[in-house]
Point group: C2
Chain length 256, copies 2
DNA sequence: AGGCGCTTGTGAAGACGTGCACAAATCGCG
DNA sequence: CGCGATTTGTGCACGTCTTCACAAGCGCCT
């Protein structure tokens, strides 16, 4: 179990292994596969078929196979995928083998919940700093970590490399915080504030917005309500969803 | 201001206006436009061009125009869009005109933050019930709402129609909770637990998973690190991102 | 009234993502 | 040793999404 290393690499025999450039949609699904694989490993499974893994991850099996094929050719025909090996490969590709330090800015309502979340450390992420601008919050200890003032960010970043910045401040402060994070070299930001951030090229921003999710659900409720109001034929309105429904991001009706 | 009503409707002159069936990608962006429009309205703007609105929402202007064209033909050539009218239209399409009751199940670490969040009520959503299985949590009052036992769900749903269920329980309990929600007629679920839910056809599930977002960011960090390690020519590695970079879901480098 | 500048709405092309269906590969067993 | 059962990896076709580029429409100014 040692001759399996970054096989899809084009040429490039440098010291740092070049990553196969994965489709973005694939990248977004790999963490889901990873979670399913960990569950399988905990349950004692040594191998898993694409059918089994795809069911556990809630996706199409062909899609899963295509996704995994982008990483290289792990898996054995007629058998399936070696669970431990696949975990190792996906974690490598996602860059989870090197532990990443996270700085959380804004320790309010939401920030407290995030700071107290143990699912962070579970997968290679470590909250390295809690920051807030409110003097009355500075000094508070949460989960063994002391809240420090946001102006200390440069010093903190100098002490240890911050890999990812998480913004949990009000929207009005988010852009300023983003600028501060970028200024100390952070190139990945997870933003919980409902606003658009502008950042220089090379910096990645992902947004999590509860209100948007609710509104999307609201649309589907609205649509479903307007659909059931149409056909006055029979009474079974529950199976009335038309054929090509294409629930792109939403998972809908995954088996039973 | 009264002759503008659901114009894109195909035929169907029934009592309930049929919705134009929007592309899922468009639906996911409408809430973003809506937020930008509210900001513009608060700032006193009466109209806005596609260029202006798209900049505020962080998208391509052609994309914005195509998205809005799916709703019908609001907007005036040579002028732009009427802000108030567009807000009204988007809110109608998203089903936000009828206020929606949300049931939040799992009032733990995260659930507390959600329950105390005022951004909920800001846009047509109202938390109608807080539910938990832990007897020691039942009876606690948060934000004027008393936590009730999850077994009371049928009674609560009977008293008022629950539009959306939010699951903030540990993953192990999420499927059971989802089943309970479905049993009382909920057809839209927002799931914060890191697991795949299986629900019957016609029920929409959206998932918010912090760990997945972090892992996606981690991948990009990993990729950026492996890229800067390649070219030993000059020194400027920051602009080294190759042309077709296609940050699909991630917003990257939005102006300055 | 007429022209001019500005902005929308959309056709068309290309990029991207999905899913079927099957050949190639592997294992276990007779 | 060969064969059938099983499962991967992928070519291909289809649908969706994005982006460009421009004609059509609108208002304003002369
Ligand atoms: N609470 C939720 O459930 C929830 C859900 C979705 C989105 N959000 C969003 O998350 C963000 C935070 O929400 P919240 O409920 O925790 O708000 P909050 O007001 O409780 O907390 C905000 C915190 O940020 C701090 N802060 C303000 N300006 C700062 C700055 N410049 N630098 C550092 N810290 C600063 C404040 O001192 C405060 O502690 C908001 O943008 C909100 O819209 C919250
Ligand atoms: N805290 C975070 O920042 C965070 C971030 C992302 C995801 N999550 C996820 O959100 C979920 C909740 O996280 P948390 O930190 O609030 O956990 P928590 O343990 O603090 O809270 C869970 C709550 O759910 C209740 N519960 C358990 N079983 C239940 C049932 N069958 N019916 C009703 N209620 C039940 C518990 O009594 C508890 O109050 C978890 O799945 C977690 O992985 C949390």
């Amino acid at each position: 179990m040692s001759q399996h290393r970054h096989p899809g690499a084009s040429g490039r025999a440098g010291a740092v292994p070049a990553l196969p450039d994965l489709p973005e949609a694939t990248v977004a699904r790999l963490p889901e596969y990873l979670r399913a694989l960990h569950n399988l490993a905990d349950a004692g499974h040594e191998t898993v078929s694409s059918e089994g893994l795809s069911a556990a991850a809630g996706v199409n099996s062909a899609k899963l196979r295509k996704d995994l094929s982008h990483l290289g050719s792990y898996g054995t025909r007629g058998v399936g995928y070696d669970v431990a090996l696949l975990i190792e490969q996906i974690e490598y590709v996602l860059g989870l083998t090197q532990h990443r330090a996270v700085a959380l800015v804004g320790v309010g309502n939401l920030g407290h919940a995030l700071a107290g979340y143990d699912g962070f450390a579970g997968r290679g992420f470590r909250i390295a700093a809690l920051l807030d601008a409110d003097p009355s919050r500075v000094g508070e200890e949460i989960n063994g970590l002391v809240v420090r003032h946001v102006d200390e960010l440069p010093a903190i970043a100098a002490a240890e490399s911050i890999s990812i910045g998480v913004i949990a401040t009000p929207a009005a402060a988010a852009q300023r915080v983003a600028d501060q994070l970028v200024a100390v070299g952070v190139t990945s930001i997870l933003n919980f504030a409902p606003c658009v951030l502008s950042v220089p090229e090379g910096v990645d921003v992902r947004k999590v917005d509860l209100a948007i999710e609710l509104q999307i659900l609201s649309f589907h409720e609205h649509r479903k309500a307007s659909l059931t109001a149409l056909p006055a034929t029979g009474g079974s309105a529950l199976t009335a969803l038309p054929g090509g429904l294409a629930a792109t991001d939403t998972q809908e009706a995954i088996g039973t």
